[in-house]
């Protein structure tokens, strides 16, 4: 009797294993999420709903390892032949490295690409994601335009009734703040060589003047040099007058030690907990990056976008690619899914209609600080596309911006040195 029970159990297990294997072999795929709990929650939810509607698919959602970095995790997985079918958390610079290594699938060659772009209403936003060969290898998921926050309550106390828009106006306000022992800006990262910091201190201001003039094209510097010099000069002037502090002050902006700061939408959930008095329109206000007075009217008013998307890996089997592509198309076919994304992660989805689509209206009404981000999505420029992005931005910091902020080089000298260092990298 016992033997019979055991044999029955064994048979059942075998059938189950077989069933799972068949299912896995048919339409299964692994999808890696960013190592961020809220993003994991979203993708798990999406996979569950998708598989409920499409029981023939098996989408396994796993977080990618964070250490030593998500990029290193992806590289080692590809090198070891264990890459998933798709993953998110890819910015265009790293995407270029993967693209140069033939590791990605051109998404615009897959069935339903045009319909997907139309369904997600991102015909404009997708344009800046084209790779040098004209194909699209990354589907952008979210874009964080970097805006500047002003402490309007402190400006009022300083007797300033309008938010400064130009470098010259900022210098005047900074002087008033200094008289009250406040700093215009507190940013220790301004003198740190970490390459990604240049996104937030240099490229935000650079794009505001130059628009989307590419910083690098192919292996050549094609930057708007006048714009670079104007940005460097602005930082030089601020540093010379000691209006900016490059030492650490925890939460300098919400505590009111600094009156101006670059801000991404990721700060607001933390503020709600720790600084509930920080209310958009009452204590602070968000603006686009400033420009020099003489550029008023001609500057494009763009800003930098900290944006990431998803890719399909060429290494995955055709079946897995097809399965994950079906899943991705399903996820981005409904604006309600983008709403869930925004509710779960507080990151603005890449859509041309984010500010106007009624699906998002209620959520944005409850989170007014996110409205300026939604409105500026169209003006937000993603990082430049080059596989040596890290070296280039490190050189820009070490030879250019950092010596300028430390008053060790004139803006002209700093740009000449940075250009020489970048050219050396490009010619390597």
């Amino acid at each position: 009797m016992l033997a019979k029970k055991w044999s029955l159990t064994l048979t059942l297990v075998c059938v189950l294993v077989l069933a799972v294997s068949v299912a896995a072999g048919a339409k299964s795929a692994i999808f890696w999420t960013a190592p961020n709990p809220s993003q994991e929650v979203f993708w798990h939810e999406m996979a569950e709903r998708f598989m409920e509607e499409n029981p023939e698919y098996q989408i396994q959602v796993l977080p990618m390892a964070e250490a030593p970095s998500s990029e290193a995790t992806i590289l080692t997985a590809i090198a070891g032949g264990t890459a998933p079918a798709a993953s998110e958390n890819i910015f265009i610079g790293f995407g270029a490295e993967l693209w140069e290594s033939d590791a990605l699938v051109p998404l615009d060659t897959l069935p339903g690409w045009d319909e997907l772009i139309a369904a997600r209403n991102m015909e404009e936003a997708i344009k800046s994601w084209a790779f040098p060969d004209g194909h699209y290898y990354i589907l952008p998921i979210y874009s964080n335009p970097i805006l500047y926050g002003w402490r309007i309550d402190i400006l009022e106390e300083l007797g300033v009734d309008s938010i400064p828009e130009t470098y010259e106006e900022i210098m005047e306000v900074a002087k008033l703040a200094q008289e009250e022992d406040l700093f215009l800006m507190v940013r220790p990262a301004l003198v740190k060589p970490n390459w990604w910091e240049r996104w937030f201190d240099f490229f935000t201001l650079y794009y505001a003047i130059s628009g989307d003039v590419p910083f690098i094209t192919g292996n050549e510097i094609t930057a708007d040099e006048e714009a670079v010099l104007e940005v460097f000069q602005f930082y030089y002037d601020l540093a010379k007058e000691k209006y900016i502090l490059t030492q650490e002050i925890p939460d300098a902006f919400p505590t009111g030690m600094a009156i101006w700061s670059e801000l991404g939408p990721w700060v607001f959930p933390g503020w709600q907990e720790q600084y509930p008095e920080m209310v958009h329109g009452e204590t602070f206000k968000l603006t686009m990056p400033p420009i020099p007075e003489n550029r008023k009217g001609e500057a494009t008013g763009n800003t930098f976008a900290d944006a990431k998307g998803l890719v399909l890996y060429a290494q995955a089997s055709k079946e897995a690619q097809e399965a994950v592509w079906e899943f991705i198309r399903w996820v981005f076919s409904k604006p309600e899914h983008d709403l869930l994304w925004m509710e779960t992660t507080s990151l603005p989805p890449v859509r041309d209609d984010l500010a106007e689509n009624p699906v998002f209206a209620d959520y944005l009404a409850q989170a007014p600080a996110l409205v300026p981000y939604a409105e500026s999505l169209a003006s937000a420029v993603p990082p430049f596309t080059h596989s040596q992005f890290a070296d280039i931005q490190t050189a820009l910091g070490e030879e250019g911006l950092i010596p300028v902020v430390r008053l060790q080089k004139t803006p002209e000298q700093a740009w000449e040195d940075a250009k020489a260092a970048i050219n050396q990298i490009l010619n390597r």
Binding site: A72, L75, E97, S101, D102, N194, E248, P250, T394, E398
Partner: protein, 296 residues
């Protein structure tokens, strides 16, 4: 007899195989792979793997980032070594002077070693921040707030002292075991001959601690060539590469610029530097030991 020897040999091999397998898989193979990578320009995934001969080694020799990384360990060492020796010896002597609860005290001083470098860096970041109580006191005295992490010499000081804080409890344990193995008769004889505490310390304690001191010196000097978390968290290697270390450069080249071959060549230089410096320190320590009656 032969069968017995064979049996013993087999048993020996069985004991050794796990360690050998571990060493081959996690040390020998990566080491050989790393050596092969040195001669290529490759990001680990590209179908194109360019053979560059000695190019990576030459480039590393000419890189100012590598030059900075080669100098930084010595700058940190100049502060770290005296600081950690004084602190750990002091802790060991203090613990040894207690008759009871030595274990509890030792654990208390050992705790910073167990704490993660990241969390310790955050604590230090708070301590040196512009508005910290420490800086308020200092600015009241000297009239300004020092830029601890933005001034090259101060940034080195902060990092060296932070590492010393972390490791002093660990090294104190080594010194403590050394202290406890010194025969008390030596101190009694010295006392009869009229030697005071300070003289006893330098003439008896320190020479008798030679084995412990030797271990600590080798560990501490080797540690200087593997510093990563503290500068990564606090300074990013700045200002002006003043705190840029070997591991920061290897990490940057391997995981930011994705140049595995170049990173391997820097790792090779790092290994050579450790080998040479530890060799020199070993010889100095052995000479000091011999001068105090210890044999090699």
């Amino acid at each position: 007899m032969l069968r017995r020897i064979k049996g013993e040999a087999l048993t020996g091999w069985l004991f050794v195989i796990p360690y050998l397998a571990y060493t081959i898989v996690f040390f020998v193979l990566p080491f050989v792979w790393g050596l092969l990578l040195i001669f290529s320009e490759w990001n680990l995934i590209s179908p194109v793997r360019e053979f560059v001969g000695l190019g990576n080694l030459i480039e590393a020799l000419q890189s100012r980032r590598v030059h900075a990384a080669a100098v930084t360990p010595f700058k940190i060492m100049a502060i770290f070594l005296p600081a950690v020796l004084i602190m750990s010896l002091g802790i060991a002597v203090l613990i040894n002077s207690f008759k009871k609860r030595q274990g509890l005290l030792a654990v208390a001083f050992f705790l910073p070693y167990l704490a993660s470098g990241v969390s310790m860096s955050l604590v230090v970041k708070g301590v040196v921040s512009y508005t910290s109580p420490v800086n308020k006191v200092i600015s009241n005295i000297i009239g300004y707030v020092p830029d601890w992490l933005g001034t090259p010499s101060l940034a080195i000081l902060v990092i060296a002292l932070m590492i010393a804080w972390r490791f002093s409890g660990y090294y104190a344990l080594i010194f403590l075991s050394g202290l406890q193995s010194i025969p008390s008769e030596l101190y009694e004889a010295a006392q009869i001959d009229g030697a005071g505490r300070i003289k006893s310390f330098f003439k008896i304690t320190l020479p008798q601690l030679y084995p412990a001191l030797y271990s600590v010196m080798i560990l501490a000097v080797g540690l200087m060539f593997g510093v990563f978390t503290e500068p990564y968290m606090l300074t990013g290697g700045g200002p002006n590469l003043a705190t840029h270390t070997w591991y920061l450069e290897i990490y940057y080249q391997a995981f930011s610029t994705l140049r595995a071959g170049y990173a391997s060549s820097i790792a090779l230089y790092n290994a050579v530097a450790v080998f040479i410096v530890v060799g020199i320190v070993r010889r100095i320590m052995q000479a000091w030991g011999r001068a105090h009656g210890w044999e090699d």
